[in-house]
Symmetry: C2
Subunit: 349 residues, 2 copies
DNA sequence: GGCCCGTGTGGTATCGTTTCCACATCAGGG
DNA sequence: CCCTGATGTGGAAACGATACCACACGGGCC
């Protein structure tokens, strides 16, 4: 909490910038009039407004948001904390948020936590401290969201959900999508299907697991037809795990990878083992990223529109700011299966 | 300039947060003492310091950076403006910056301009307005950098350079890298080599072109051995252009793509035309991104360590803040050719 | 003629912090 | 005994903008 705030600040050197006071003086009006002229709030005659604006440009006046924010007790900034900027899914999310922020004249503070709860909490504190107008997070736990909400700042949880009830959310229907894509595998005749996944503590992982299980069950397959393999969320270690899985005598004939990184790991594992996709192994996954259309065969996957999720998250925040008292709500976006060539009937025995 | 600043701000509702005044009251000391205790600047007895800290946590006190920043005339935030968050190169750059910011207790404001100069200028104004401690840009023109520098905020230009002399820079040796990778092609015996590139107005494009030309010239090839094709920087339109290029009777036997997006376009073009890489067409490029190791054959490319560039940029800013008067300098990082399987001798005639 | 309202302007308190200055105490040295 | 310097503490002035209030003026309405 409130760590020493670092070493003494070194203010930028050089001549100090023009303030609104100087603008007012040069335009021959009072401070308050100048402020009204520039912000457009309150009465100013057209003539005066012009004079003030001219004075402002001639002085290269840039309003000081730190003062404005202090006075108004809010800044026109949204805080965004995503797990990991290296993951293409989060990048698209951030890109969507960034776009939509810009369209609404908000700036974006971005923090990526590398998947550590501690970092997320630090980011949360920074955001509160800067009096951001709202925060978008891919939460690691309920702590960060609660902390922020307790300080009166609206939060929207994206991708996963923890604090449902106390803040808004934007997610996809993970369960249904996982069901669909798994169902397609059972329909093709697969009797032994692997699910490679990194976690169950969050709604994403849990729902994908549920959807997977449901599809297996509805196909009338025995409990052990679904092989669930958990792995850390990085390609090399997941790849290692998957090689082991695929080396088993009773190896699955199809794998559902729960996100793009795990999909990459499966793909690389298959390649090093010289397993042909889809003839010897079917692969389907979650997240639609670039390489999936470039490898051969291209990969069948569940496409979430991460950019749209980001935009929606911003819209949700804007709504919330306008109507603070409205009960919390969650937007569930669609995620659709994109059929490509990476799944096929299981190899004949 | 200073657009109306949007609609009236709606301050967050709910009970106002604790201020340092309340912390001071609860600890039974004066405001100034509380401030000293929390920031660690100036004299405070150990006992008092403890009391104040206890009071702060018990009130869930979070210092208000908007007030702090106003008073200190700087914020602990760096502004970052990259061309396009969807381009993996810029993402890595942003990731590196983000990391290094965090390590030094800075926050990061991120704007992506989609490659439009106008947006870059808007971002610049926002940064100045928020009194960021420094700005990192991939400049579109010299305007943004100059604007920011004129307002007394240090800037470091990354990837490309415009305002050299008036601000610091972090780049790679584009010319040398382009030379190396082109030279490898001439050594393989290619006599007709294409350069696909999107611009020459920036140092990146220009230097890559120079390196390319130099390699062609040194190989003793005629002027027209190097075929320079310019294209817009998006995959579909570049792909279209390249298909036309490769349809010519005297089509090049090798192509050097000046960045990862153009490389993707070349790759896709070759694929749609059923041109085998590397047997019928050699492909080398700039930027090392994920898919290049996943397609077969994998792609030979110039790897720039974008993460390191980002980190270096932050370090450069920190140095500059410490020593504002030091003459501007540019850090040139190495970029190395990663040999994979996408180049080979030209097909026999 | 008195009143009110719309328009336009200026004065000033205020946001929450940091930091400069003044002041107080106490020890030790001349 | 007085001065100096180190250690602590409190008072109050900034920082730069906004927004509330008061006020002034002119015209229309009763």
């Amino acid at each position: 909490m409130a760590d020493p705030a670092g070493p003494e600040p070194i203010p930028a050197p050089g001549k100090p910038r023009a303030t609104i006071k100087e603008v007012a003086a040069r335009a021959g009006v009072s401070l308050s009039t100048a402020s009204r002229a520039l912000t457009g709030r309150g009465y100013v005659s057209a003539a005066v407004r012009e004079r003030v604006k001219k004075a402002a440009t001639s002085l290269a006046y840039v309003p000081d948001d730190t003062a404005r924010n202090l006075r108004q007790r809010v800044s026109r900034v949204f805080g965004v904390a995503v797990s990991d900027l290296r993951d293409p899914f989060y990048v698209d999310l951030a890109a969507g948020i960034s776009q939509q922020c810009r369209r609404n004249n908000y700036a974006m503070m971005l923090a990526d936590g590398g998947g550590l709860e501690q970092r997320e909490l630090e980011a949360a504190e920074t955001f509160v401290s800067l009096r951001v107008a709202g925060v978008i997070l891919t939460p690691m736990s309920k702590n960060a969201s609660e902390f922020i909400v307790n300080h009166g700042v609206p939060v929207v949880e994206v991708d996963r959900q923890f604090a449902s009830g106390s803040c808004d959310g934007v997610v996809v229907d993970n369960r249904r999508a996982a069901y669909d894509v798994t169902h397609a595998l059972t329909e093709l005749g697969h009797r032994r299907i692997g699910l490679v996944i990194d976690e169950f503590t969050w709604t994403t992982g849990r729902d994908r697991l549920y959807g997977f299980r449901q599809a297996i069950a509805e196909a009338g397959l025995p409990e052990n037809a679904g092989v669930v393999i958990t792995s850390r969320l990085d390609v090399p270690s997941a790849q290692h795990t998957i090689v082991k899985l695929l080396s088993r005598r009773d190896r699955p004939t199809a794998i559902f990878a729960a996100n793009n990184l795990l999909a990459e790991a499966v793909w690389r594992a298959a390649e090093t083992m010289k397993l042909q996709i889809p003839d010897e192994l079917s692969l389907v996954c979650f997240d639609d990223v670039r390489w999936m259309t470039m490898v051969r065969p291209a990969i069948t996957t569940v496409a979430q529109d991460a950019v749209a999720m980001g935009e929606t998250a911003v819209d949700t925040l804007l709504q919330r700011i306008r109507r603070p008292a409205r009960p919390a709500y969650t937007v569930v976006l669609n995620a659709t299966v994109v059929e490509r060539g990476s799944s096929a009937p299981p190899p004949a025995r």
